[in-house]
C-alpha cells in the first residue's frame, strides 16, 4: 500500500482553478520534488496533502486514512500526528528559545520532553544554540531548528515548501545534506523547489503547470520522460 494516494484532486478559489485533476501516488521512503512556475499550484497541493486545506473535489488517502470527508478538527489531528512541516519562511516563535520551539510542537502533539528536544537539536548540529532565541540564530540555523521541529513527533511524511528558498548557498547545502540524510534513514519527503539541482537530489520530480501535472521525471526509471496530461 502506498503512503499517499491522490485521485482526481481539484482546488478552486472562486474562479481560480488552482489545481485540476491531480492523480499522484507517493510510496513510503520516497523523496518527491515538486516543481513548476510561480502560481502553478505547488503550495496549494502541499496545503492539501498537509491537511491545512481541504480540496474542492477528489479523494486523498494518507497512510490508509481517507480524509476526503473529515472535519476541520480531525484534519488538525491528522496533521499533528502524521505530518511534519517545513516552510520557506522559518516560522519560529520569536519569544521562545530553540529548544522551547521544539517543545511547543511536542506539547500540542503529546507531552513536552526537553531531553528529546535537545537530542533533536543535536542531530541538526545546534546543541550549543539550544537556549538561543530565533533572533540570535542565522537563517540556516533557524531552518535547521524548523527541520528538527518537523521531525520531533516522528511524522510519516515531511512536507517542505521551498526550504532553501530563503537561504544562501552554503546554508542551503547544509540543509539539503540533512534532507539527504533523512531520506537515507527512510523518511518520506515531498519538497517544493525552484532549483533543478535541488530537484536532482530527489528520486522523482513532478512539474506542475496551471494546476495540472505537466511533466514528471523518475530517476529510478532510467532516462524516461513522459508526457502526462
Amino acid at each position: 500500500m502506498s503512503l499517499l494516494e491522490l485521485h482526481d484532486v481539484s482546488m478552486v478559489y472562486g474562479s481560480v482553478k488552482a489545481l485540476q485533476g491531480i492523480d499522484l501516488t507517493v510510496e513510503k521512503g520516497e523523496w518527491l520534488a515538486l516543481m513548476g512556475p510561480s502560481g502553478s499550484g505547488k503550495t496549494t497541493l502541499m496545503n492539501i496533502i498537509g491537511c491545512m486545506d481541504k480540496a474542492s473535489t477528489g479523494s486523498i488517502v494518507l497512510d490508509g486514512v481517507d480524509f476526503t470527508d473529515v472535519t476541520a478538527g480531525n484534519l488538525t489531528m491528522l496533521r499533528r500526528d502524521k505530518i511534519g512541516l517545513v516552510f520557506q519562511q522559518f516560522h519560529l516563535i520569536p519569544y521562545l528559545t530553540a529548544v522551547e520551539n521544539l517543545m511547543v510542537a511536542q506539547y500540542y502533539h503529546s507531552m513536552p520532553d526537553e531531553q528529546e528536544a535537545l537530542l533533536a537539536l543535536e542531530r541538526v548540529g545546534l546543541k550549543e544554540r539550544a537556549r538561543h532565541l530565533p533572533s540570535q540564530l542565522s537563517g540556516g540555523e533557524q531552518q535547521r531548528v524548523c527541520i528538527a521541529r518537523a521531525l520531533i513527533n516522528y511524522p510519516m511524511l515531511i512536507l517542505a515548501d521551498e526550504p532553501t528558498g530563503n537561504l544562501d548557498e552554503a546554508n542551503a547545502k547544509i540543509v539539503l545534506e540533512f534532507f539527504q540524510q533523512l531520506h537515507r534513514e527512510g523518511h518520506t519527503i515531498i519538497m517544493v523547489t525552484h532549483d533543478p539541482k535541488v530537484a536532482e537530489l530527489a528520486e522523482r520530480c513532478i512539474v506542475l503547470e496551471h494546476g495540472r501535472i505537466a511533466n514528471w521525471k523518475d530517476r529510478r526509471v532510467v532516462c524516461r520522460e513522459e508526457e502526462v496530461s
Binding site: 503550495t43 496545503n47 491545512m52 486545506d53 478538527g73 488538525t76 489531528m77 496533521r79 499533528r80 500526528d81 512541516l85 516552510f87 520557506q88 519562511q89 516560522h91 516563535i93 520569536p94 519569544y95 521562545l96 522551547e100 517543545m103 511547543v104 510542537a105 511536542q106 506539547y107 500540542y108 502533539h109 513536552p112 532565541l133 521541529r149 515548501d161
Partner: protein, 427 residues
C-alpha cells in the same frame, strides 16, 4: 509548556503588552477614583451644600399663625411671641440629632445708628453648648454661615461689646475694624457703643445688618432668655412620594408608613421631630434648598457614574485596538501553533490568559493610581481626604474582567478565523 509560552510572551515581549496594561490601568484608576469619591462624597457634597444656609427654620407657633395669615415676620419683635433660648439644645436630642450639623438662635430687632434705621440681630457665634446628655457641641452662625467671608474676626459669644457689621452697611456708615458704633435699641434712649470686630460679606440680605451677641439684644429689649427663631442646617434624604404626603399631613400616613417616614432623614420628618422637642414651636423646611440638596447630590453621583462608564468603555475600545494590532502582528505565530496541532480552544486559552495576566497587572497598578487620584480629587474639590472604601475592590475586579474581555472580543474573533494555510505562506 503552557506557562513557558505564557512567560515567554509576557516577559520577552513585555513592551508589546505594556501599552495594554497602561490602557487598563488608566481605565481602572478612573473607576477606582470615581467609586471611592462617590461612596464618600454623599456626606461631603451635603456638607458643601449645607454651606448655603439653613434648611429648617424654627419659629414660635403663634408667630407662625400670624405669619401665615398676616404676613408678619417672626422675630421682628412685632409678634410678641418668642421661643426659649433654653430649648435650643433640645434640637440635639431628636432621633436624627446626628444629621443636624449646625444651628443658631436669632433675636432680631430694629435699631438706629445715628440717623439710620438698621436691623440688629443677636445670635450665637461659636457657642459651646452642653447637651442634656452631657455631650458638648460647638455651634452658632460661624458654623451655620460657613460661607461668609470675614474681614477682621468672628466675635466671641462672651464679648457683649462686640459687633459684626455687614459689608454693605459698613460701607454706608463708613465703619472699619476697630471703630466704635453706637446702637440705639427701640425703647432705649441712650446708645450703646460697640466695637466693630469684623466685617462680613454674605452675599445676601445680612450684608445690611449688624450681628451682635444674643445677651446684648435680650438685655436691651428686656427679653431675657427669649429668642425669635432658630435656624437649623440638617443633612437630609431626598424627598419622595412618602415624604411629600407626610409633609402635607403626617396624620394621613398609615402606621407603617409613618414609621418609615419618621425613621428616614427627610427634611419633613426632621422638622416634625424638632417640633416635638422644642415646645410651642413650628419648624418650617426651607424647602427649595432642602430639595435641591438631594437632587444635586444624586445628579453629581449620576455624573460620576457616567464618567466612570465612559472611561471604561474608552479603555475597552483602546484595548481592543491594541490587541487587534497585537494579534494581527502575531498572526503567523498563531497560525504556526494551529499548524502544529493547537486547537482553536488552545490558542484562545493562551491569548486570553496572556491578556488577563496583563489586565491583572494593569488593574493592580490602576487601583493604586486611582486611590491617588481620589485623594487629589478629594483635596481639590472637597478640601478633605477621601476615605478608601474596600467595597470598591470587587467592582474594580469586575470592571477589569469586563473591559479586558470586551476589549479582546474582536481579536478573539480574528484568531478563530485565522487559517494557518493562509498566514504561513505569506499571503
Amino acid at each position: 509548556m503552557f506557562w513557558e509560552m505564557l512567560k515567554g510572551a509576557l516577559v520577552r515581549q513585555s513592551r508589546k503588552m505594556f501599552m495594554v496594561a497602561i490602557t487598563i490601568a488608566l481605565g481602572v484608576s478612573l473607576t477606582t477614583a470615581m467609586l471611592n469619591v462617590m461612596l464618600d462624597v454623599g456626606d461631603k457634597v451635603n456638607r458643601e451644600l449645607k454651606a448655603y444656609g439653613a434648611n429648617i427654620t424654627v419659629i414660635p407657633r403663634a408667630a407662625s399663625v400670624l405669619r401665615d395669615v398676616y404676613g408678619i415676620e417672626a422675630s421682628s419683635g412685632k409678634t410678641g411671641q418668642y421661643l426659649q433660648e433654653a430649648d435650643v439644645g433640645k434640637l440635639k436630642t431628636i432621633f436624627w440629632a446626628n444629621n443636624i450639623v449646625a444651628f443658631s438662635p436669632l433675636l432680631e430687632t430694629k435699631a438706629t445708628v445715628g440717623s439710620d434705621d438698621i436691623t440688629v440681630v443677636g445670635t450665637w457665634f461659636n457657642r459651646q453648648l452642653e447637651l442634656p446628655t452631657g455631650e458638648v457641641v460647638e455651634t452658632g452662625i460661624k458654623e451655620l454661615k460657613s460661607w461668609w467671608t470675614v474681614e477682621g474676626n468672628w466675635i466671641n459669644d462672651t464679648d457683649i461689646k462686640g459687633a459684626m457689621v455687614g459689608s454693605t452697611l459698613a460701607r454706608k456708615l463708613n465703619l472699619h475694624i476697630g471703630d466704635s458704633v453706637e446702637i440705639v435699641l427701640p425703647g432705649g434712649t441712650q446708645g450703646e457703643a460697640l466695637t466693630v470686630q469684623g466685617i462680613f460679606n454674605s452675599g445676601g440680605a445680612e450684608d445690611d445688618q449688624i450681628f451682635v451677641t444674643l445677651p446684648f439684644v435680650q438685655q436691651g429689649l428686656n427679653l431675657p432668655g427669649k429668642i425669635g427663631k432658630i435656624e437649623v442646617s440638617a443633612i437630609t434624604t431626598p424627598e419622595n412620594e412618602l415624604a411629600r404626603k407626610a409633609a402635607h399631613d403626617p396624620k394621613s400616613l398609615s402606621l407603617k408608613e409613618w414609621e418609615t417616614w419618621y425613621c428616614t432623614a427627610y427634611v419633613s420628618s426632621i422638622a416634625y421631630q424638632i417640633e416635638e422637642a422644642v415646645g410651642d414651636s413650628r419648624a418650617k423646611p426651607v424647602r427649595q434648598v432642602a430639595e435641591s440638596e438631594g437632587t444635586i447630590l444624586q445628579k453629581t453621583q449620576l455624573l460620576m457614574l457616567l464618567i466612570t462608564g465612559l472611561s471604561l468603555a474608552g479603555s475597552a475600545l483602546g484595548i481592543s485596538n491594541l490587541l487587534m494590532a497585537n494579534i494581527m502582528e502575531r498572526s503567523r505565530e498563531f497560525g504556526l501553533l494551529k499548524a502544529l496541532g493547537a486547537t482553536d480552544r488552545d490558542v484562545l486559552l493562551l491569548t486570553l490568559t496572556e491578556i488577563m495576566t496583563t489586565g491583572l497587572v494593569g488593574g493592580i497598578a490602576g487601583y493604586f493610581l486611582g486611590l491617588g487620584f481620589a485623594q487629589i480629587i478629594g483635596h481639590n474639590v472637597f478640601g478633605t481626604a477621601v476615605a478608601i472604601n474596600a467595597m470598591v475592590i470587587p467592582w474594580v475586579i469586575i470592571s477589569v474582567i469586563l473591559i479586558t474581555l470586551v476589549g479582546s472580543l474582536p481579536a478573539m474573533r480574528m484568531l478563530l478565523s485565522l487559517r494557518p494555510a493562509a498566514v504561513l505562506h505569506g499571503r
